[in-house]
Amino acid sequence: MTKQDILKPENLVYQKTKLLTKNVMHYCPGCSHGVIHKLIAEVIDEMGIQNETIGVAPVGCAVFAYNYIDIDWQQAAHGRAPAVATAIKRLLPEKYVFTYQGDGDLAAIGTAETIHACNRGDNIAIFFINNGIYGMTGGQMAPTTLEGMKTVTTPSGRNHEMNGYPLKISDMLALIDGTCYVTRQSVDKLPAVMKAKKAIRKAFENCQLKKGTSVVEFVSTCNTGWGMSPHKANLWMQENMTARYPLGDIKNI
Protein backbone atom coordinates (compact mmCIF):
# COMPACT_ATOMS: atom_id res chain seq x y z
CA MET A 1 0.00 0.00 0.00
CA THR A 2 1.52 3.29 -1.10
CA LYS A 3 1.26 6.68 0.54
CA GLN A 4 -1.17 7.77 -2.18
CA ASP A 5 -3.53 4.91 -1.27
CA ILE A 6 -3.65 6.05 2.35
CA LEU A 7 -4.01 9.76 1.54
CA LYS A 8 -7.78 9.73 1.09
CA PRO A 9 -10.26 11.99 2.87
CA GLU A 10 -12.01 9.01 4.50
CA ASN A 11 -8.72 7.95 6.15
CA LEU A 12 -8.03 11.35 7.69
CA VAL A 13 -7.80 11.00 11.48
CA TYR A 14 -6.25 14.29 12.51
CA GLN A 15 -5.79 17.73 11.01
CA LYS A 16 -5.58 21.35 12.09
CA THR A 17 -8.92 22.49 13.45
CA LYS A 18 -10.80 25.11 11.44
CA LEU A 19 -10.84 27.40 14.48
CA LEU A 20 -7.12 28.00 14.18
CA THR A 21 -6.56 30.77 11.65
CA LYS A 22 -4.12 30.59 8.78
CA ASN A 23 -1.75 33.01 10.52
CA VAL A 24 1.60 31.50 11.44
CA MET A 25 2.02 31.79 15.20
CA HIS A 26 4.73 34.20 16.31
CA TYR A 27 5.85 31.86 19.09
CA CYS A 28 9.34 30.37 19.10
CA PRO A 29 9.72 26.88 17.61
CA GLY A 30 8.54 24.28 20.13
CA CYS A 31 6.70 26.73 22.41
CA SER A 32 4.00 25.19 24.62
CA HIS A 33 1.67 28.11 23.83
CA GLY A 34 1.09 26.66 20.36
CA VAL A 35 -0.08 23.30 21.71
CA ILE A 36 -2.36 24.92 24.29
CA HIS A 37 -3.86 27.29 21.69
CA LYS A 38 -4.52 24.28 19.50
CA LEU A 39 -6.19 22.32 22.31
CA ILE A 40 -8.43 25.24 23.28
CA ALA A 41 -9.43 25.70 19.63
CA GLU A 42 -10.16 21.97 19.26
CA VAL A 43 -12.32 21.87 22.40
CA ILE A 44 -14.32 24.93 21.31
CA ASP A 45 -14.76 23.35 17.89
CA GLU A 46 -15.85 19.98 19.31
CA MET A 47 -18.31 21.60 21.70
CA GLY A 48 -19.67 23.76 18.85
CA ILE A 49 -19.47 26.95 20.90
CA GLN A 50 -17.43 29.14 18.55
CA ASN A 51 -20.06 31.88 18.56
CA GLU A 52 -20.66 31.66 22.32
CA THR A 53 -17.05 31.88 23.47
CA ILE A 54 -15.18 35.01 24.50
CA GLY A 55 -11.50 34.84 25.37
CA VAL A 56 -9.58 37.39 27.37
CA ALA A 57 -5.96 37.66 26.26
CA PRO A 58 -3.18 38.63 28.65
CA VAL A 59 -0.05 40.71 28.39
CA GLY A 60 2.90 38.51 27.59
CA CYS A 61 3.76 36.25 24.67
CA ALA A 62 0.09 35.27 24.28
CA VAL A 63 -1.02 38.89 23.81
CA PHE A 64 -1.64 38.11 20.13
CA ALA A 65 -3.83 35.08 20.84
CA TYR A 66 -6.66 36.84 18.97
CA ASN A 67 -4.69 36.38 15.76
CA TYR A 68 -4.78 32.62 16.03
CA ILE A 69 -8.10 31.38 17.44
CA ASP A 70 -11.15 32.46 15.49
CA ILE A 71 -13.47 33.51 18.35
CA ASP A 72 -14.30 36.82 20.05
CA TRP A 73 -11.43 38.22 22.10
CA GLN A 74 -10.79 41.06 24.46
CA GLN A 75 -7.28 42.10 25.39
CA ALA A 76 -6.88 43.06 29.04
CA ALA A 77 -4.38 45.27 30.84
CA HIS A 78 -1.50 43.40 32.46
CA GLY A 79 -2.86 40.93 35.02
CA ARG A 80 -6.45 42.20 34.79
CA ALA A 81 -7.85 39.44 32.60
CA PRO A 82 -9.94 37.79 35.38
CA ALA A 83 -11.51 41.17 36.25
CA VAL A 84 -12.37 41.80 32.59
CA ALA A 85 -13.70 38.24 32.26
CA THR A 86 -15.89 38.81 35.33
CA ALA A 87 -17.46 41.84 33.68
CA ILE A 88 -18.03 40.02 30.39
CA LYS A 89 -19.57 37.00 32.11
CA ARG A 90 -21.91 39.13 34.22
CA LEU A 91 -23.07 41.18 31.24
CA LEU A 92 -23.39 38.15 28.95
CA PRO A 93 -24.07 35.26 31.34
CA GLU A 94 -24.93 32.77 28.59
CA LYS A 95 -21.45 33.04 27.03
CA TYR A 96 -18.46 30.85 27.72
CA VAL A 97 -15.76 33.20 29.01
CA PHE A 98 -12.15 32.26 29.60
CA THR A 99 -8.87 33.97 30.32
CA TYR A 100 -5.51 32.86 29.01
CA GLN A 101 -2.64 34.05 31.16
CA GLY A 102 1.03 33.43 31.75
CA ASP A 103 2.73 33.27 35.11
CA GLY A 104 4.01 36.84 35.00
CA ASP A 105 0.47 38.00 34.26
CA LEU A 106 -1.55 35.77 36.59
CA ALA A 107 0.86 35.07 39.44
CA ALA A 108 2.69 38.42 39.70
CA ILE A 109 0.94 41.63 38.64
CA GLY A 110 -2.49 39.96 38.49
CA THR A 111 -2.45 38.06 41.80
CA ALA A 112 -5.14 40.24 43.34
CA GLU A 113 -7.47 40.05 40.35
CA THR A 114 -7.01 36.29 40.11
CA ILE A 115 -7.67 35.63 43.78
CA HIS A 116 -10.71 37.89 43.93
CA ALA A 117 -12.23 36.55 40.71
CA CYS A 118 -11.88 33.04 42.18
CA ASN A 119 -13.25 34.24 45.51
CA ARG A 120 -16.33 35.65 43.79
CA GLY A 121 -16.76 32.27 42.16
CA ASP A 122 -17.41 33.79 38.77
CA ASN A 123 -18.33 31.11 36.25
CA ILE A 124 -15.28 31.60 34.05
CA ALA A 125 -12.38 29.38 33.06
CA ILE A 126 -8.83 30.51 33.79
CA PHE A 127 -6.06 28.94 31.70
CA PHE A 128 -2.74 29.54 33.41
CA ILE A 129 0.47 28.86 31.48
CA ASN A 130 3.29 28.36 33.96
CA ASN A 131 6.73 28.25 32.38
CA GLY A 132 8.59 29.63 35.37
CA ILE A 133 9.95 32.67 33.58
CA TYR A 134 9.01 35.97 31.93
CA GLY A 135 9.23 34.83 28.33
CA MET A 136 8.35 37.90 26.27
CA THR A 137 10.52 40.41 28.12
CA GLY A 138 13.65 38.31 27.85
CA GLY A 139 13.70 35.66 30.56
CA GLN A 140 13.51 37.47 33.91
CA MET A 141 12.62 35.69 37.17
CA ALA A 142 8.89 35.11 37.70
CA PRO A 143 7.14 34.25 41.00
CA THR A 144 7.01 30.64 39.78
CA THR A 145 10.73 30.39 38.92
CA LEU A 146 12.20 27.33 40.64
CA GLU A 147 14.82 27.63 43.36
CA GLY A 148 18.30 27.50 41.84
CA MET A 149 16.93 28.25 38.35
CA LYS A 150 19.07 30.71 36.44
CA THR A 151 17.36 33.63 34.76
CA VAL A 152 18.69 36.96 33.51
CA THR A 153 17.73 38.62 36.81
CA THR A 154 18.96 35.69 38.96
CA PRO A 155 22.21 34.82 37.15
CA SER A 156 23.42 32.59 39.98
CA GLY A 157 20.06 30.90 40.45
CA ARG A 158 16.97 31.83 42.46
CA ASN A 159 17.73 31.95 46.15
CA HIS A 160 14.81 31.92 48.59
CA GLU A 161 16.57 34.22 51.06
CA MET A 162 16.86 36.87 48.39
CA ASN A 163 13.93 36.14 46.08
CA GLY A 164 11.41 34.12 48.07
CA TYR A 165 10.00 30.71 47.18
CA PRO A 166 8.36 29.50 43.94
CA LEU A 167 4.69 30.38 44.27
CA LYS A 168 2.25 27.45 44.05
CA ILE A 169 -0.62 29.62 42.96
CA SER A 170 -2.96 26.82 41.88
CA ASP A 171 -2.73 25.24 45.34
CA MET A 172 -3.63 28.65 46.79
CA LEU A 173 -6.60 29.01 44.45
CA ALA A 174 -7.83 25.52 45.40
CA LEU A 175 -8.25 26.74 48.99
CA ILE A 176 -10.69 29.43 47.89
CA ASP A 177 -14.37 28.50 48.21
CA GLY A 178 -15.28 30.06 44.85
CA THR A 179 -13.30 27.60 42.75
CA CYS A 180 -14.88 24.33 41.65
CA TYR A 181 -12.11 22.82 39.57
CA VAL A 182 -8.37 23.36 39.90
CA THR A 183 -6.02 21.09 37.97
CA ARG A 184 -2.44 21.05 36.80
CA GLN A 185 -1.56 19.59 33.40
CA SER A 186 1.31 19.52 30.93
CA VAL A 187 1.51 19.23 27.13
CA ASP A 188 4.86 17.53 26.59
CA LYS A 189 3.75 14.06 25.47
CA LEU A 190 0.72 12.48 23.79
CA PRO A 191 -0.93 11.15 27.01
CA ALA A 192 -0.37 14.48 28.75
CA VAL A 193 -1.85 16.36 25.80
CA MET A 194 -4.97 14.15 25.86
CA LYS A 195 -5.42 14.72 29.60
CA ALA A 196 -4.90 18.46 29.18
CA LYS A 197 -7.58 18.53 26.48
CA LYS A 198 -10.04 16.79 28.80
CA ALA A 199 -9.26 19.32 31.52
CA ILE A 200 -9.91 22.21 29.11
CA ARG A 201 -13.25 20.67 28.13
CA LYS A 202 -14.26 20.24 31.76
CA ALA A 203 -13.34 23.85 32.50
CA PHE A 204 -15.54 25.03 29.62
CA GLU A 205 -18.42 22.81 30.70
CA ASN A 206 -18.19 24.19 34.24
CA CYS A 207 -18.77 27.70 32.82
CA GLN A 208 -22.44 26.82 32.28
CA LEU A 209 -22.95 24.65 35.36
CA LYS A 210 -22.71 27.65 37.73
CA LYS A 211 -20.41 25.79 40.10
CA GLY A 212 -17.71 28.44 40.30
CA THR A 213 -14.37 29.27 38.75
CA SER A 214 -12.30 26.62 36.95
CA VAL A 215 -8.51 26.95 36.87
CA VAL A 216 -6.35 24.86 34.57
CA GLU A 217 -2.62 25.31 35.06
CA PHE A 218 -0.29 24.10 32.33
CA VAL A 219 3.25 23.36 33.44
CA SER A 220 4.96 24.51 30.27
CA THR A 221 8.34 25.20 28.78
CA CYS A 222 10.02 28.35 27.50
CA ASN A 223 12.89 26.79 25.63
CA THR A 224 14.25 30.14 24.46
CA GLY A 225 14.13 31.65 27.96
CA TRP A 226 15.58 28.53 29.49
CA GLY A 227 18.32 28.32 26.84
CA MET A 228 17.54 24.77 25.73
CA SER A 229 16.24 22.94 22.68
CA PRO A 230 12.47 22.25 22.78
CA HIS A 231 13.03 18.55 23.50
CA LYS A 232 15.60 19.21 26.24
CA ALA A 233 13.27 21.80 27.75
CA ASN A 234 10.53 19.15 27.92
CA LEU A 235 12.88 16.72 29.66
CA TRP A 236 14.02 19.43 32.09
CA MET A 237 10.39 20.31 32.78
CA GLN A 238 9.51 16.66 33.48
CA GLU A 239 12.43 16.34 35.87
CA ASN A 240 12.34 19.66 37.70
CA MET A 241 9.11 21.58 37.18
CA THR A 242 6.78 18.69 37.96
CA ALA A 243 8.65 18.01 41.22
CA ARG A 244 7.60 21.44 42.49
CA TYR A 245 4.35 21.57 40.54
CA PRO A 246 2.98 17.98 40.58
CA LEU A 247 0.47 17.19 37.83
CA GLY A 248 -3.12 16.15 38.47
CA ASP A 249 -6.37 17.48 39.88
CA ILE A 250 -5.99 19.63 42.99
CA LYS A 251 -9.71 20.25 43.43
CA ASN A 252 -12.69 18.83 41.61
CA ILE A 253 -16.17 19.30 43.04
Binding site: V13, Q15, G30, L190, P230
Partner: protein, 76 residues
Protein backbone atom coordinates in the same frame (compact mmCIF):
# COMPACT_ATOMS: atom_id res chain seq x y z
CA UNK B 1 -3.95 -10.34 10.11
CA UNK B 2 -5.18 -6.79 9.89
CA UNK B 3 -2.43 -4.24 9.96
CA UNK B 4 -2.68 -0.54 10.60
CA UNK B 5 -0.92 1.71 8.15
CA UNK B 6 -0.61 5.40 8.53
CA UNK B 7 0.95 8.39 6.90
CA UNK B 8 1.39 12.05 7.69
CA UNK B 9 1.39 15.22 5.63
CA UNK B 10 3.51 18.07 6.92
CA UNK B 11 2.76 21.66 5.95
CA UNK B 12 6.43 22.35 5.35
CA UNK B 13 6.06 26.12 4.95
CA UNK B 14 4.49 26.49 8.42
CA UNK B 15 6.82 23.99 10.13
CA UNK B 16 9.38 25.61 12.44
CA UNK B 17 11.60 22.54 12.80
CA UNK B 18 11.25 22.34 16.59
CA UNK B 19 11.93 18.57 16.54
CA UNK B 20 9.12 17.73 19.00
CA UNK B 21 7.30 15.47 16.49
CA UNK B 22 10.53 13.64 15.71
CA UNK B 23 11.09 12.96 19.41
CA UNK B 24 7.48 11.96 20.05
CA UNK B 25 7.20 9.38 17.24
CA UNK B 26 7.22 5.86 18.72
CA UNK B 27 8.26 4.38 15.37
CA UNK B 28 11.03 6.90 14.56
CA UNK B 29 9.29 7.69 11.28
CA UNK B 30 10.05 11.40 11.21
CA UNK B 31 13.27 13.34 10.90
CA UNK B 32 14.19 16.93 10.20
CA UNK B 33 14.97 17.46 6.54
CA UNK B 34 18.44 18.63 5.55
CA UNK B 35 16.68 21.17 3.30
CA UNK B 36 15.04 24.28 4.72
CA UNK B 37 11.77 26.07 3.99
CA UNK B 38 11.54 29.71 2.92
CA UNK B 39 11.99 30.84 6.53
CA UNK B 40 15.15 28.78 6.97
CA UNK B 41 13.72 26.06 9.19
CA UNK B 42 14.64 22.40 8.73
CA UNK B 43 11.14 21.05 8.31
CA UNK B 44 9.90 17.67 9.52
CA UNK B 45 9.73 14.92 6.96
CA UNK B 46 8.94 11.17 6.77
CA UNK B 47 11.99 8.94 6.39
CA UNK B 48 10.47 5.52 7.17
CA UNK B 49 7.08 5.76 5.47
CA UNK B 50 6.33 2.04 5.87
CA UNK B 51 6.62 2.16 9.67
CA UNK B 52 3.98 4.85 10.31
CA UNK B 53 0.98 3.59 12.27
CA UNK B 54 -0.99 6.86 12.22
CA UNK B 55 -1.01 7.17 16.01
CA UNK B 56 -1.20 11.02 15.86
CA UNK B 57 1.46 11.47 18.55
CA UNK B 58 3.42 13.80 16.25
CA UNK B 59 0.38 15.85 15.32
CA UNK B 60 -0.86 16.22 18.90
CA UNK B 61 2.44 17.61 20.22
CA UNK B 62 3.00 19.90 17.22
CA UNK B 63 2.76 23.49 18.48
CA UNK B 64 1.98 24.85 15.04
CA UNK B 65 -0.58 22.24 13.96
CA UNK B 66 1.23 21.56 10.70
CA UNK B 67 0.74 17.78 10.67
CA UNK B 68 -2.28 15.94 9.23
CA UNK B 69 -2.54 12.21 9.93
CA UNK B 70 -4.17 9.50 7.79
CA UNK B 71 -4.75 5.93 8.93
CA UNK B 72 -6.17 2.82 7.32
CA UNK B 73 -6.60 -0.87 8.22
CA UNK B 74 -5.26 -3.33 5.71
CA UNK B 75 -5.46 -7.10 5.48
CA UNK B 76 -2.19 -7.70 3.63
Amino acid sequence: MAKIKGTVVVDTERCKGCDLCVQSCPQSVLELNAKVNSKGYHYSTMVKEDDCIGCTACAMVCPDAVISVYRVKTND
